[in-house]
């Protein structure tokens, strides 16, 4: 288990390989569909994401207490993420399901990785949120789409796309494609 602490340095991120188990600690921000669209439309970002982590997550929050905070499907952010990584200097993208070749390429170019959290395991993830330190766009986007700032402790993920061009999802997709062909051909 490799421990990562905010701010995440390029050196630490470049040292990660697809398949590594990691524990994420310190500050992270959530951002999903509305947040990415806002960015793509030229909207201002509320914080400096350099050496930061962006978590694709729409949590359940009661007052300022997080009760459920698993990842949402990341593919929907494919059109926006490469540009986001290039412009902000983001180091960690956390979500589920993986992202496309363009995002993989941006990770390689700019020194970022994609971490897979276990989809649906929201109660466990919520236990890793030690504190909610801020929230942005709550009124504009609603609670599920807002940009929440969390203090995380021992949030466990797997490096699924590294900064050297390797994606675990791509390997599985190719293999399953072959199996599917074999099982469906006349």
């Amino acid at each position: 288990m490799k421990e990562l602490c905010y701010p995440f340095s390029e050196k630490a991120v470049r040292a990660l390989k697809a398949g590594d188990a990691v524990s994420v600690n310190g500050k992270i921000w959530t951002g999903r569909d509305r947040f990415h669209k806002h960015f793509a439309d030229g909207g201002a970002l509320p914080v400096d994401f350099r050496d930061g982590a962006l978590y694709h997550c729409g949590p359940v929050v009661v007052g300022m207490r997080v009760v459920a905070a698993g990842p949402t499907t990341s593919v929907r952010e494919n059109p926006y993420e490469p540009d986001f990584i290039a412009k902000t200097g983001l180091r960690l993208v956390i979500g589920k399901g993986g992202m496309d070749a363009r995002t993989l390429d941006a990770c390689r170019k700019h020194g970022a990785v994609y971490l897979q959290a276990v989809g649906g395991a929201a109660a466990l993830a919520a236990k890793c949120v030690k504190r909610v330190t801020n929230v942005y766009f709550l009124k504009e986007f609603g609670a599920a789409e807002a940009c929440w700032e969390f203090e995380m402790c021992d949030f466990r993920c797997v490096v699924a796309m590294d900064s050297h061009g390797k994606s675990l999802f791509e390997d599985v997709r190719k293999k399953s494609e072959e199996n599917w062909r074999r099982m469906t051909r006349p």
Binding site: A21, V60, K96, A122, G142, A144, F169, V172, S176, T184
Partner: protein, 274 residues
């Protein structure tokens, strides 16, 4: 009644049904030692325990709420009662503020408005209210095919149905939180196909289809889907699908739809006797 239904929503949101939990435990035993599949399944099972103990949502996407209500309960469990129960469950943190006005983009913070939650009154003499909470990630992976479909070599027969369903699973990869549960409808029109496919998701995962032909098809597709190698969360493994449930509706001569309702492993399904 409002409070009772709100409690029922809370329980359903935080508790995995026994049949789903058993299927996950069996999958955990099947996966190879040290594999990411085994690790992911262990996390899923641990999460179910933590959520049930704390009474907090199993998954943050508390999903579309579909209530199937015995129509004899209509006077007690009115649409207004469901709206109030959902509002209360949301205030309690059992539901995420999860409803968006599709035109303005505004959040409907109570989760209650015309069209949400979905309530169907049916003549089933069950004396019960049934609830399915289905998340958006899995709903996005649901699919409908119109046969024949030359691109996947699927003709208008049960073999074509098998190919269509496997194609849906292949396209879904890990995006809909695999291992998934497949509700399938053969036939119907486009709307009733999705309705029947979703209704299949109310079945107990361990039951056996009363139609022997469909029971056989369910077993075959389950075996094939788990040979694809997609695995939990799309990171590889032996468990891609936990169960396949197939129903049928009559069709027009011109149409042959195969509809797949993809449900994530977090199969939040409950029944409340009234």
């Amino acid at each position: 009644m409002i409070k009772r239904i709100a409690d029922f929503i809370g329980r359903t949101s935080s508790t995995l049904p026994d049949d789903a939990l058993n299927a996950l435990k069996a999958a955990y035993r099947r996966e190879a030692k040290g594999s990411s599949a085994k690790m992911i399944l262990a996390t899923i099972i641990e999460n179910a325990k933590v959520a049930a103990e704390a009474g907090t949502p199993l998954c943050q996407d508390t999903g579309t709420l579909t209530f199937i209500v015995d129509e004899r309960l209509r006077s007690k469990a009115t649409p207004a009662v469901f709206a109030k129960a959902v509002t209360l469950a949301t205030e309690r943190g059992c539901l995420r503020r999860n409803t968006i006005d599709s035109i303005s983009g505004a959040s409907i913070d109570t989760n209650a408005c015309p069209g949400a939650p979905v309530v169907h009154y049916v003549d089933n003499s069950s004396g019960a209210i049934r609830l399915l909470m289905k998340g958006g990630g899995s709903e996005n992976m649901s699919a409908q095919f119109s046969l024949p479909d030359a691109a996947i070599g699927a003709g208008r027969d049960l073999e074509g149905v098998r190919k269509a369903v496997l194609t849906a699973v292949q396209r879904a990869q890990g995006y809909g939180c695999a291992p998934g549960i497949l509700g399938v409808c053969i036939g119907g029109d486009r709307a009733s196909g999705y309705e029947e496919a979703k209704m299949q998701l109310f079945r107990n995962l361990a039951d056996v289809n009363q139609d022997a032909r469909l029971a056989k098809l369910e077993r075959r597709i389950l075996k094939d889907a788990n040979s694809l190698g997609i695995g939990p969360m799309g990171l590889g493994g032996k468990t891609t699908v936990l169960a396949v449930k197939i129903g049928a509706r009559p069709r027009l001569p011109a149409s042959f739809f195969v509809t797949v309702a993809y449900l994530c492993w977090a199969a939040r399904r409950g029944e409340m006797k009234v």
